[in-house]
Amino acid sequence: MAGTTTVLVTGASGLVGAEVTARLTAAGHTVLALLHSNGDLVRNNGRKLTPGPGALIRITGDISRPGLGLTPDDRHIVATADRIVHCAAVTDFGLPEERYENINVTGTRHVLDLALAGRTPLVHVSTAYVCGERDGTAREDELDVGQRPGNAYEKSKLTAETQVRKAAAEGLPVTVVRPSIITGASRTGRVRDFKTIYPVLKVLTRGLVRTVPGHYDAALDLVPVDRVADLVTEAATRREDAEGLTLHAVGHELTLRDFSDVLAEYPSFHVPRFVPPSAFSASALPDRERPYYGRIISLYDTYFRRRIHFDDTQTAAFSGSPAPAGGRPYLRRLLDHCLRTGYLGVASSHKPTTARPDGRTL
């Protein structure tokens, strides 16, 4: 097919990787899907990916190993790639620091080695949260402005993107796509993996943690997975337009006030009380809440403090579509999907309380 290319996609079984792979093969491109293990590629809608008309070639590898751990035969196949889309990363929070180092930093180093060897244009999937812990507007042309990363994940992605920039300075054609918090599909709210913000929503709406340190005007940016996949695919297929750009793949900016107000629309949900971080003490939490706070909520504390806005001027100009509006309706779609699947539901306890004498209960 004229105009088609061969694209190596790392992390092709991941949420974004599978969607990018589906889009590329649907457009007639050949995808070399780098996979850490065997298994079906599953799309965000839960269905097995059916490639075509472009071909899908599975390649087993491990980005944390030099040469991506490829066999000599696979190395030859990978060398035919016209582009590399680097989606592979660990995005879970709370893992040992070396996991982020191995996959996100060293893994990116190895992908860069491959790209530099063949001067193969690279689309690197980073995160908008390389901006670190700060308030205000994060621009697409900024990277290291002395910010403090919010956690080990952000630190690793900042280091990885810095490596990518260095390679770009050495002449490698590079596009960086920085998604914010990737969540369900724009129209349906559907999501394959209940990761990132989802466990937080579960703990909070079930009332397992009722007091959270955060500012009501702190903002979380939730981007639909389809928007991210569209943008990454476009960056890979419109190489010349995309080269040198950093694109904020951002979506719906929702403040904690938005979360609070929308969660309140669901009778079974608990709405957390956000308290100023300076007034919060984990040790003052009730015994039943503290473990949930420690295991889940504390990993996301940093996002409840930032009053951050991601400028997406370059993205809007490149893709012709600015970040979507309608954050609250989108959040409802996400929550409704969670209810439909049973991921979210009733609070942890909804038995009527026994009568207590007024006033002395404080």
């Binding site: 629309e265 009380r273 100023p276 003490s281 003052a284 009733v346 009527p352 007024d358 006033g359 404080l362």
Partner: protein, 550 residues
Amino acid sequence: MILTEDHLQSLLDKSLAELPGGTEWAVALEGSIAEGFGNSTSDIDFLLIDRSENDLPTMPSLLFVDGHRVEIRTRSMGQLADQFRMLEEGAKRPGRLSEDLLNRCQRLLHSHPLRGHALVDEAKAMLPLERFRRITVDWWAHRARQSLRHAMALLCLGETDESVDWSRAGLVQTVKSWAAELGETYLEPKWLPMQLDRAARPDVRDRYWELAAVAPAPGDVGAARDHLTACLAFAEDLGLTGVPWRTERLTVERAAGVTTWQTGERVHVIRGRREVFALGDRAGAVWRSLVLGRPLPQVLAASADTGVADPGPRLAAFLRYGLIRLAWKGGGTVIPSLPLAAPPGPVTPPPSTVQPLLSVHGAAVSGPDGIDLVPLPADRFAAATMALVWSNVVVENAVEDLTGALERGQWRVAELTARRALHAALRGLFSAHGVNPLPADFDLARRMDLLPPAARPIQARAEELLRRTVDSAESGDALLAELRACVALVRNTVGAGAFPSSFDSADTWRATLELGYDWLRIGAYLDAELPIEEARDLLASSGVQPHQAA
């Protein structure tokens, strides 16, 4: 017709004589008499048609002619064309099609011309009768579905008698839809017997009357179920689709603008950002068990799991008050309605009369099953409760200050802090009764006339204490003791729920702070006037108990 042509022409002449002249009207008789129904008490309804495009008055004129009540409406051809156009546009969504519009069109299309026959015929030709029949069939069928689905839901919820009434409504609407297919489109249900007689289908007529005559005993679930089953079967036989007896197709959905806010253990539901419902413990537990989007039987089972006996009526009340919505899978929101009745929509119950109205935990309730409408607009409710929480804090704070001032012999400081404490207690007292915004501090004691008589004894005591001066340790200690007694009196009057002792321990202080945050959260949602700045100072204090003796 029950009136002869001559009689009608005579009535028309006399009626037109009472109207300003100058217009060449075409005239048609419309309504029940034109339809072939009517009796000696029926109105005579004349429609006067003007060829112009002008807008003529909508309000009819009422005349009394020869012992008849004569109603005269005027419409231009332009208005009639608009009327038919709106009907066609609205026909796509029968649930939203106005009953009045449908009625107006029906009456014209079935009218009897008396003058200017050509113009009357021209007006009628704007909408083919067949098309109108179809619109009417769909309109009644839509209503029949809504009523029968609602009846199913109510039966599921244990509201047996109400279910029977909606089954009956669905029965009438089904038969009206069926009759419309045969050309019997007159809307008013009271002429249904004559329509059925004219339809010349005695089998249908007899079965209808048989079902209409069924009167299940109040609370007889079995009989109500049998009645609904028979109505559904009859409806199906008459060609009504979309009403299989499948309650799992009924789902409980979010009602727009309804939010839930819990403070302490009290569940508040705010409707349309305006009205606050305070739920008693059992009603609150049922509410909290609601998972939106789930089938009604599943929702009912989940609410039964809360341990609340017979949760159905509570769910039915939520539905009645518009706090939740019921939908039929593939059929949208279930909105039952009766023709010629109040428009469908949420019911608003009378406001709660429980006193005092508020505590720091929220609104008072009438009992564990209460779904009580707070007699305050939502923003005032939030503002008053926040003021109440805040006044608690200030009382405690000021009493601590007073103690410190007395220890150091600062008599004038002691006087001022005593007044501050007293004013704060009075602010709490007013807030607990829902007064908001509050009178100025110096006016609080005088404005006790706003409060119920039970609060009056506080007035004299407060006025006396506010005048009190301190010039010695003895008079200071006496003031402190009496101030504490007065605060205790306020607490006794409004209940400890309004005035807990926030500073008794670290735990009670932390709980007070959490209540403060809870109220801030609601206040933010409502954009209410709250003592935010002061409260933020408090809330940002890391939960440290202020003014605690070292």
